[in-house]
């Protein structure tokens, strides 16, 4: 089922865990299948310097969660918000078509954690 890069990411995700005293943190749930993705970030000067994720859900969510953390690192909040589902899908090496929702969940988590950051740091 899972091969190449996607398998690699499922088995050996990076950025696993939770930041201590993060700048922001959010957990999103796929309402249909109950998959959960938690993202915590550290933001310095408008740039995401660190990100960690936790996940409960089907296997590809591990890959998309890991990739979400990887992709937002070093990006401005604005640039992070531009990351698309398709970009994550490509970056993990292509999801099976029944698992596209795993990429959606990752994008949702990015939006949610940035939302949280902005709530905590109103302009």
């Amino acid at each position: 089922m899972y091969q190449g890069k996607l398998a690699q990411l499922i088995q050996h995700p990076s950025h696993v865990g939770e930041l201590e005293n993060p700048s922001a943190m959010a957990e999103v749930t796929n309402p249909v299948c109950d998959d959960r993705l938690r993202l915590s970030i550290r933001v310095e000067d408008g740039i995401i310097t660190e990100a960690r994720f936790k996940v409960y859900g089907c296997a590809p969510t591990i890959a998309t969660g890991s990739m979400a953390a990887e992709l937002i690192r070093g990006k401005s909040l604005e640039d992070a918000l531009r990351i698309t589902r398709e970009e994550i899908d490509r970056a993990v090496g292509g999801l099976p078509h029944t698992k596209i929702h795993c990429a959606t969940l990752a994008v949702d988590a990015i939006w949610a954690v940035i939302d949280d950051y902005r709530r905590r740091n109103p302009v």
Binding site: V55, T98, H101
Partner: protein, 398 residues
């Protein structure tokens, strides 16, 4: 990577001896068993020899065996066949909430045709209570269909008791109905199955669960039992199931049945020992695990447990990536998860149902397979818990 296959409840590898028996019937003795000429009669003889072997495995007469395309068709034929044949006698059927979909969905289909179905609940251990069954019996009950062994958790239902109860009910009523059907697909070849000891009228089998080929099954139909055929066509299987007989498949089924009968005791012991070894290892080495289903009354080859905080499909996939094949009660397709109807019926909450893994063994499983599985499992469960937002840090031990 050496692969370890612990998904034998889904399907088993065809035994080399079975394949050898089937072999000649593809291209050499390829006749149609309905043909009167020599080529056909050789096929006929092979089919009848296989029928005798399948019958012997379950203590039946050869004439009581109807070959089908698999366990699913056997269940469909038993339930729809009785419903159609006895619809004048009554339209009520009793089954359980934890049957295989081949039984459950067939019953649902009959509900649309005007039959009433009672789905008996099960205990927390996954067992039907005979008193519940007794209470559910109605004047117009024509069929009781309770599986012999559950395919997800391996629990064995009290079929002998059910058989006795129904025999008494029939005697009191002076009626040959209701009939008793049991789906024994997961029991045959794993534990002793004897239609007379069980007191059943119909019993479903499938070849590919006992190291025979896929696409062949059988329905035991006790002599005298009324059954309306569901596949119409030629006069095959004494007018009970039309369609050119799958000769090599049937021959393979016969050989698999013979091997299952001859080696039953040793296989049973072997699987049970290894299964117990697996469960001991899990219980000892992994915290927060719940075993699903009664630990005593069950078949020897299935173990089912729920790992808290983690999701079954993810664990299954990670095990697969390390060469270990198991199955899970949670299958996520297109973003919707159907939690296992069996675990739900046992009262497991959504999280536990989703975190369930089924390990199913076979005669070829080795102790070293189990040791490897345990080592890998300990690592993978810990890794997934480290990833899980549900687990508290204190609960995750790597």
């Amino acid at each position: 990577m050496k692969r370890i296959y612990l998904d034998n409840s889904a399907t088993t590898a065809v035994d080399p001896e079975v394949l050898e028996a089937m072999w000649p019937y593809f291209s050499e003795e390829f006749g149609n068993a309905s043909s009167v000429h020599t080529v056909g009669q050789k096929a006929r003889a092979a089919v009848e020899a296989a029928r005798a072997r399948v019958a012997e495995l379950i203590g039946a007469q050869p004439g009581e065996i109807v070959f089908t395309s698999g366990g699913t068709e056997s269940d469909n034929l038993a339930i729809k066949g009785v419903a159609e044949a006895l619809s004048d006698q009554g339209r009520h059927i009793i089954t359980s909430a934890i049957e295989h979909p081949a039984v459950l969905r067939t019953c649902r289909a009959l509900e649309k045709r005007g039959f009433r179905v009672t789905f008996l609940p099960v205990s927390g251990g996954g067992l039907v209570e005979v008193t519940d069954l007794e209470a559910a019996l109605r004047e117009d009950t024509i069929l009781v269909s309770i599986m012999m062994a559950n395919n997800e958790i391996g629990t064995r239902q009290p079929i002998e008791e059910i058989g006795r109860l129904i025999r008494d009910v029939r005697q009191a009523r002076g009626s040959p109905y209701p009939y008793v059907h049991t789906d024994a697909v997961q029991a045959v070849g794993k534990v002793r199955v004897d239609v007379n000891e069980l007191g059943v009228d119909l019993l479903s089998l499938s070849a590919h669960k006992i190291h025979g080929p896929k696409g062949v099954g059988a329905l035991y139909v006790r002599s005298g039992v009324l059954l309306a055929p569901q596949m119409h066509g030629g006069h095959h299987e004494r007018d009970r199931r039309a369609g050119t007989e799958n000769v090599p498949g049937i021959v393979g089924f016969g050989r698999a049945a013979e091997l299952a009968r001859t080696h039953l005791a040793e296989r049973q012991r072997h699987m049970q020992q290894l299964r117990d070894h697996l469960e001991e290892g899990i219980a000892r080495r992994i915290p927060d695990v719940l075993f699903n289903g009664d630990r005593e009354r069950r078949v020897p080859h299935i173990s089912n447990c729920s790992f808290r905080y983690i999701e079954g499909e993810a664990l299954m996939i990670r095990l697969d990536l390390r060469g270990i094949a198991v199955s899970t009660g949670s299958a996520c397709a297109s973003g919707s998860v159907e939690p296992s109807h069996v675990l739900t019926a046992l009262g497991r909450d959504r999280e536990l149902a989703r975190g369930s893994i089924r390990f199913s063994l076979c005669k070829d499983t080795t102790a070293s397979d189990i040791d490897t599985v345990l080592d890998v499992l300990v690592e993978e469960v810990a890794a997934l818990r480290a990833l899980s937002p549900l687990a508290q840090p204190s609960e995750t031990r790597v």
